[in-house]
């Protein structure tokens, strides 16, 4: 079955979405990530969606859910590299994704995570 790999890098988990995210895939990702955070006790999650060109309200909500779930498991989530068209679509759909941190690039996202996680 198709899966999105979750890479571990020290205290952080990295996810790069490079295929069209359909509903089942998004749901699997959410479950896998929850499992992984709890297993590795990761402190930060970085989701790169720069290759994602199609979104619907379900995907938008799932991304929001992922961030909330990570929050409960004591990990910060940063979504990076959202395309302009995707951002416009989400806004028009009314998915504001409040509570999700965003950054322009992976670099800036990493910086943000490091600042949030700190040394603890």
């Amino acid at each position: 079955m198709e899966k999105i790999p979750i890479l571990r890098m020290g205290k952080y988990l990295l996810i790069t979405i490079q295929v069209d995210l359909h509903d089942r895939l998004a749901h699997t990702l959410q479950e896998d990530l929850a499992e992984k955070i709890s297993n590795t006790s990761a402190k930060g999650v970085l989701i790169d969606i720069s290759s994602l060109e199609l979104v619907d309200s379900y995907i938008g909500r799932t991304l929001g859910n992922i961030a909330s779930i990570a929050q409960i498991l004591d990990a910060y989530t940063v979504v990076v590299g959202m395309q302009p068209a995707v951002a416009i679509t989400l806004v028009e759909l009314g998915v504001a994704m409040n509570g999700v941190r965003t950054a322009l690039t992976v670099d800036k996202g990493m910086e943000m995570l490091k600042a949030l996680v700190g040394d603890d």
């Binding site: 302009p84 951002a87 504001a96």
Partner: protein
């Protein structure tokens, strides 16, 4: 009827020179103050062309049916003429008068030639009048279409011109908005701004609305959408240039701009942006010359 048509054509052919000069006089009388827009030589050429095309059409064509292929030449000619006049700034009646002013000299000619045959004169006058009316309507229609094309082109040009995104500092872009915001324009503005955030890797955008004459609920909503979209991409958006009048309007309308950082002018917004990216402007000793 067929015979009647060929007679006008024949009469025009015989008296072409006289007809042209009479018609030119007629046109000059009508559009005296427009004389500067079109040269006499050009007008004479247009008139001559029109008469010969008309005569050609009358020779073979059916006056009742302007859609017949024989009339295509004269219609093309009129479209071209109408378009060029629209571009030069003629009004619709000034354009249509080109065709309608031809009636007087043509009727005068018919009267002179057929004066002693009352019923033929009436028939021919009617035929000519009907034909010229149709052509006149056609030229007006084309004129409208040309105006619409010109307006659409200008609209497009204005839209392209008025949405520049400028980089104020590495990491800070500004979008000075000028003119009324409607849905179509906001869409373009939004896309341009978000694209430039990505291209320049800027994490801060300043939308300056000093040049926006009115802010209503729709504009406020558009601003909110842009700010949200920028935030989704990981950038922060400030809105600057809110004039006192507009601040009052916004409050009276009951529009709230939650979570939007607003500043009175661009300088304040820029200062805040510098602060956010950890930059500082300091005063050095002034250089005196």
């Amino acid at each position: 009827m067929l015979k009647a048509k060929s007679r006008i054509s024949e009469l025009i052919e015989k008296n072409q020179a006289e007809l042209v000069s009479n018609w030119l006089k007629e046109q000059e009388a009508f559009q005296g103050h427009r004389a500067g827009l079109i040269s006499n030589v050009e007008l004479r050429k247009q008139s001559t062309d029109f008469i010969s095309l008309l005569q050609q059409g009358l020779k073979e064509g059916d006056v009742e049916n302007l859609n017949a292929p024989i009339w295509n030449d004269i219609k093309d000619f009129l479209s071209h003429l109408s378009y060029s006049r629209a571009e030069k700034g003629f009004s619709s009646s000034e354009t249509a008068i080109f065709v309608f002013s031809f009636k007087q000299p043509l009727f005068a000619l018919l009267k002179k030639e057929l004066g002693n045959d009352g019923s033929a004169l009436a028939d021919e006058t009617w035929t000519a009048s009907a034909l010229l009316d149709q052509l006149g309507l056609y030229i007006t229609e084309v004129y409208q279409n040309s105006r619409n094309t010109i307006i659409a082109r200008q609209e497009r040009e204005i839209m392209e011109l008025s949405t520049p995104v400028v980089q104020l500092w590495p990491g800070i872009v500004a979008l000075p908005l000028i003119g009324t915001l409607d849905s179509a324009r906001t869409q373009v503005v939004m896309e341009n701004l978000l694209k430039s955030l990505l291209e320049t890797g800027s994490s801060i955008a300043i939308i300056d609305i000093t040049g926006v004459p009115t802010v209503d609920t729709l504009v406020a909503q558009h601003l909110l959408k842009t700010v949200s979209a920028a935030r989704l991409m990981g950038a922060e958006c400030f809105v600057s240039g809110i004039r006192p009048q507009i601040a009052q309007t916004i409050v009276h309308l009951g529009v709230s701009l939650p979570d939007v950082v607003t500043k009175a002018n661009l300088a304040d917004a820029f200062a805040l942006a510098l602060k956010r990216i950890g930059m500082k402007v300091t005063k050095t000793d002034a250089i005196s010359n």
